[in-house]
């Protein structure tokens, strides 16, 4: 069970959160302009990184805010959390 530092509420047990997958996949502003391939890329294709990944989490049972997390998927170590719209603190 992770101990997650919600950028708003502070450290909380993982059970209060829900995971939302890879971060920084921006919904295309003009979906109709995209080819089926490009749309599939947005919809389904994922890097699924083994290593440092940027991902979305929601403090679902707390403040209900979505935020981003930098986590190493090879050891589950959380390197940073940051608010939506903020730049990642780590490259």
């Amino acid at each position: 069970m992770f101990l997650i530092n919600c950028p708003y509420c502070g450290e909380r047990d993982q059970s209060e959160f829900s995971a939302g997958g890879e971060a920084h996949i921006i919904r295309p502003k003009q979906p109709t302009e995209l080819s089926d391939d490009q749309w599939a890329e947005y919809l389904f294709m994922r890097k699924n990184i083994k290593g440092v990944q940027f991902e979305r989490w929601n403090h679902a049972h707390g403040c209900r805010k979505w935020f981003n997390m930098v986590r190493d998927t090879s050891n589950d170590k959380i390197h940073a959390v940051y608010k939506m719209g903020e730049k990642p603190p780590i490259k």
Binding site: R27, D36, W66, G85
Partner: protein, 1001 residues
């Protein structure tokens, strides 16, 4: 109790309180403070079980959680019996009943022992190589294999005990209450850390607790006396929480640990009642100090598994702590100094030590000299090559070792004994450390794996960190703890410590024998009966990885999870394969450290607390009126209201008819309700629904379909425009939470520019839905001053109203096709409003109906239920709801997906109506639909999603999805059932009132 096996000058157990217990049906006696194992040994009972594969007689081998053999069935009540409990951990209580496992008819005469005779045919993994002929006989072979598998017996009735959970947050968690753990806990507590110290035994102190030996002294006292004083100071600290009988089960990442506290297992039956049996502590510690000690290793030689062969340190504990002699003529076999402590303890208690067989060359450490002084005979550079005695050891055979230790030389001598203590050195308990993700390093000089690197805030101290001698334990534990906690506790700085130092170290993983290996049985895993031969066979057959060998031979996979066997298996693999042990690595230690009761993991979340039950504010009325309930997600919804022994079918027919003929009333409180405010509310709805919202007039309602980004229907519901920038959205019952969370997601992440706020009001409102031609009259009785004319209050509109001065919102919307109203009122008044409606409707025979009737009524109208008529593969077009997709809107969730090459296909599965040729034949929901029945394989075109007998149309109706269904209207199809084929015709989805006349009736 054999008097001569108990010494009386023992201070740890209460020899004044005699306890009676039963083993294998025989009444025996022990004392308060005994374990089942110590009491059995005191009764001269060694043989307690049979091994897994060969059914060899097995005895008590240890005194703790690493016990592989003394595994017994506890109790025989079908609900309270417990299989596979370790006799070495069971605290004796009055009336305890235990029995041997895996033997028939008895542990003394076990038919299964014939396997031992056939053992040459049963090498490791023999089962992969046989039982293949004839091919269909595996079922039969397996029947017999299964019968012989397993150890104890599962209970057959539900458990009556209660289990519980507790969360615990602390600064420092110390695991293990031996000497190093106690010093660490005291240091932490003294420095104001909120500290928890846990130990699996019923008393703190570990092995030092009974260490009364001249060779181990602190400040001129025996180490146990010094430690006792330390322990007595612990209760001074209010910030130190001590938990005994608490076993650390799992150490997960982020310093999340699970510990099982045993609260009643040691109590007698009367005291156990109505108490929590076990409590699982879910601990979140800022810092963790592991002080779990070490496990003594056995030695691997021919027939090293007979009852009476016991770990040397356990013999010491039995004599020093329990006052029990494991034998009258004890021999000891060792490769290190610790067996000498046992020899001295035995000698001091008046037990004859035949001799001590030491594989090392003569050594003269303090403790060895001490033992020699006591006149104990020592065979240096010797090994035991065989043991004799079937149900209990009666003699051993000793030979000299060659200089390189690979062979035995000279003549064999036989020595009578009734117990053999074995000591193969020590293995640090690094299990928790590795569970937490820590990496190990290997120390060559004494062949131990030690904690190395960890990402977590933790340390290991004491013998689990590889310090085996008293002075090292104290010095290093203190230093490590101080450094770890960033404190400077100098309490232990000036201790004068006497500690015997081991001078010589020697280890032989597989001791040589005078017989060829194939003729010997040197056991590694005592419970699973795997031998060194098995490991070597695996290597010969090409299984190289330690994990392969483990799985091929099952070494380390028994209920002790290899606590005694893993190191030797690794050693033998390394030796045989010619690789260094440090490079070989270990198998993964998986949680739990010792087997953990399912009940404890689940806690009180059983029975009525298995899952949350959600109830509507009108629930009690449904109960009072004998409703049957349907589970919808976590909600309890009234399903139907049987009258006078009606079955569901009859009740639903009656309810459905009443709703159309006069009036029906439904509790719709479970629908999700989301309050939407903000200047961009309309734009927001445009983006989340497929249809357009900007032009919806204030006071009007509109039905909306919500898609996933993949274009498939996700949810639906009616949304009402309450004012310019204020909407009330309804969702399906099951979709409510997901919809809100999805909408919040879009608002927060994709559209932060939108000025929109969402607030769930699902529970604030109770929703009473009345429908039928008389619903208007009923409502007018309830709210006389509300103008219900079609002009003032048309279909798909809403009004604020007062019922008895309480504000409510009335929507004129319909899911049944009838003239219908939904009254939303704050929950505390919902039941009262329901009752008022019921009262007002009495003259119209208002009939309460449940979800089943609601489903029937809407099916008559061809309205879909998301989740029943859709399954995550249906687009709005598939549902023949093209009209709801706005062509003007640039974008909405899922729009782009509707234009992919597969989603624009015209022959997708589409929602249609179905009528059976025989109007009385009701199709089964889920039944498949085909066009031809003769061609094989039969192509399935779709399936029935909803099906009912419509009392209002007096015929069976169904909704279905059918490939290219839109174009197949009027076509005949078949529904092939198991025993018959039903003829059907594809129709329009609307069966009743296609002109929607009833809405305004």
């Amino acid at each position: 109790m054999s008097k001569n096996l108990r010494i009386t000058n023992n201070k740890f157990i209460d020899q004044t309180t005699r306890i009676s217990f039963k083993f294998d049906g025989k009444t025996l006696y022990g004392f308060k403070g005994d374990t089942l194992a110590s009491a059995l040994l005191a009764n001269n009972i060694h043989l307690v079980g049979r091994s897994f594969k060969y059914h060899r007689p097995r005895g008590i081998m240890t005194c703790g959680s690493e016990e592989p053999n003394a595994i017994v069935q506890l109790g025989n009540d079908p609900s309270m019996t417990e299989p596979n409990t370790r006799a070495t951990e069971i605290e004796l209580y009055e009336g305890l009943e235990a029995s041997s496992q895996n033997c028939w008819p008895s542990v003394k005469f076990d038919i299964g022992a014939v396997n031992n005779f056939f053992s040459p045919l049963l090498p490791a993994a023999f089962y992969y190589k046989t039982f293949m002929w004839p091919a269909n006989f595996w079922k039969l072979y397996e029947y017999f294999i299964r019968k012989s598998a397993g150890l104890g017996k599962s209970p057959t009735e539900p458990d009556k005990d209660i289990y519980d959970h507790r969360y615990l947050h602390c600064d420092v968690l110390v695991v293990g209450g031996g000497i190093s753990g106690i010093m660490a806990a005291k240091t932490a507590a003294k420095n104001n850390f909120n500290t928890v110290l846990i130990d699996d035994k019923n008393i703190l102190g570990g092995n030092t607790l009974f260490q009364q030996n001249e060779c181990f002294k602190i400040n001129n006292s025996y180490s146990n006396e010094w430690l006792k004083k330390e322990i007595s100071t612990l209760n001074l600290f209010k910030n130190l929480n001590i938990k005994t009988r608490t076993s650390l089960a799992a150490y997960h990442s982020y310093n999340y640990l699970l510990a099982r506290e045993n609260l009643t297992d040691h109590l007698d039956f009367n005291e156990k009642k109505n108490k929590i049996r076990q409590r699982l502590w879910k601990i979140r510690a800022k810092k963790v100090i592991i002080a779990t000690g070490a496990i003594e290793r056995p030695l691997i030689f021919n027939n090293n598994d007979r009852p009476g062969i016991i770990l040397s340190s356990s013999i010491k504990k039995y004599i020093d702590y329990y006052g029990v002699k494991c034998g009258q003529k004890i021999s000891l076999f060792t490769n290190n100094d610790s067996a000498y402590e046992t020899a001295i303890s035995l000698s001091n208690s008046g037990v004859k030590v035949n001799s001590l067989i030491d594989i090392r060359d003569k050594t003269n450490s303090l403790i060895v000299t001490q033992a020699e002084k006591l006149g104990i005979k020592i065979h240096w550079k010797s090994t035991v090559v065989n043991t004799n005695g079937y149900k209990k050891i009666n003699s051993i055979e000793i030979m000299k070792l060659s200089d390189d230790g690979t062979a035995v030389v000279e003549s064999k001598t036989k020595e009578q004994c009734d117990c053999l203590g074995i000591s193969g050195g020590w293995t640090p308990r690094v299990h928790l450390f590795t569970q937490s993700g820590g990496k190990l390093k290997f120390r060559d000089e004494d062949n131990v794996f030690l904690p190395d690197k960890s990402d977590l805030d933790q340390i290991s101290i004491g013998s689990c960190n590889g310090d085996f001698e008293l002075d090292d334990v104290i010095k290093n534990s203190v230093n490590l703890t101080n450094k770890f906690l960033k404190v400077n506790n100098n309490d232990y700085e000036k201790l004068e410590i006497i500690s015997s130092k081991e001078i010589d170290k020697k280890n032989i993983w597989l001791l040589p024998s005078d017989k060829p290996l194939g003729k010997t049985k040197p056991f590694l895993d005592f419970q699973n009966d795997s031998t060194a031969n098995d490991v070597k066979l695996a290597l010969r057959e090409g299984f190289k990885s330690i994990e392969h060998v483990k799985r091929y031979t099952t070494t380390g996979m028994a209920t002790d999870q290899g606590k005694l066997s893993n190191m030797h298996a690794l050693g033998i693999i390394a030796e045989t394969a010619g690789v260094k042990m440090g490079e070989l690595g270990t198998t993964t230690f998986r949680p739990p450290y010792t087997p953990l009761t399912f009940g404890a993991i689940v806690g009180r979340n059983v029975g009525k607390f298995f899952d949350i039950t959600r109830k509507t504010p009108i629930h009690d009325w449904h109960v009072e009126n004998k409703a049957e309930f349907e589970n919808v997600g976590q909600w309890k919804r009234a399903w139907y209201y049987p009258k006078d022994n009606e079955n569901m079918y009859d009740a639903v027919q009656r309810e459905s008819k009443a709703a159309r003929d006069s009036a029906g009333i439904l509790d719709a409180s479970t629908l999700g309700k989301i309050d939407i405010q903000g200047s961009d509310a309309s734009e927001f709805l445009n983006r989340v629904y497929t249809n357009a919202w900007s032009k919806l007039e204030i006071g009007k309602c509109r039905y909306g379909l919500m898609l996933n980004e993949d274009g498939m229907v996700y949810d639906d519901g009616v949304t009402t425009r309450l004012s310019e920038n204020h909407y009330l959205m309804t969702t399906t019952t099951g979709g409510a939470a997901n919809v809100l969370s999805k909408l919040e997601d879009y608002l927060q992440t994709e559209w932060p520019e939108l000025d929109v706020y969402l607030t769930s009001v699902t529970d604030h409102y109770g929703t009473v839905s009345i429908c039928g031609p008389n619903s208007k009259k009923i409502l007018s009785k309830l709210i006389p001053d509300l103008d219900l004319s079609d002009k003032k209050f048309p279909h798909m509109s809403f009004k604020s109203a007062l019922i008895d001065n309480i504000k409510c919102r009335v929507m004129r919307i319909s899911f049944t096709g009838e003239h219908s109203y939904e009254i939303n009122i704050q929950s505390s008044y919902a039941k009262s409003v329901w009752e008022k409606c019921f009262e007002a409707g009495k003259e119209f025979n208002i009939t309460p109906y449940g979800t089943e009737t609601m489903h029937l009524l809407r099916a008559e109208k061809g309205f879909i239920i998301a989740g029943q008529d859709t399954d995550g593969t249906m687009t709005p077009v598939d549902l023949q709801m093209d009209w709801i997709i706005s062509k003007k809107k640039y974008d909405f969730i899922g729009k782009r997906s509707l234009y992919r090459s597969d989603t624009i296909r015209e022959d997708r599965k589409q929602l249609v109506g179905l009528l059976t040729e025989n109007p009385n034949e009701i199709l089964e929901e889920g039944a498949q639909i085909v066009a031809k029945t003769n061609k094989k394989p039969i192509e399935m075109l779709g399936h029935v999603t909803s099906s009912y007998f419509s009392p209002n149309l007096n015929k069976s109706i169904a909704l279905a999805v059918v490939k290219n269904g839109k174009k197949l209207k009027g076509q005949k199809m078949f529904v092939p059932m198991k025993n018959k084929t039903i003829n059907v015709t594809i129709t329009d989805t609307v069966f009743l009132d296609k002109e929607n006349k009833r809405l305004n009736a």
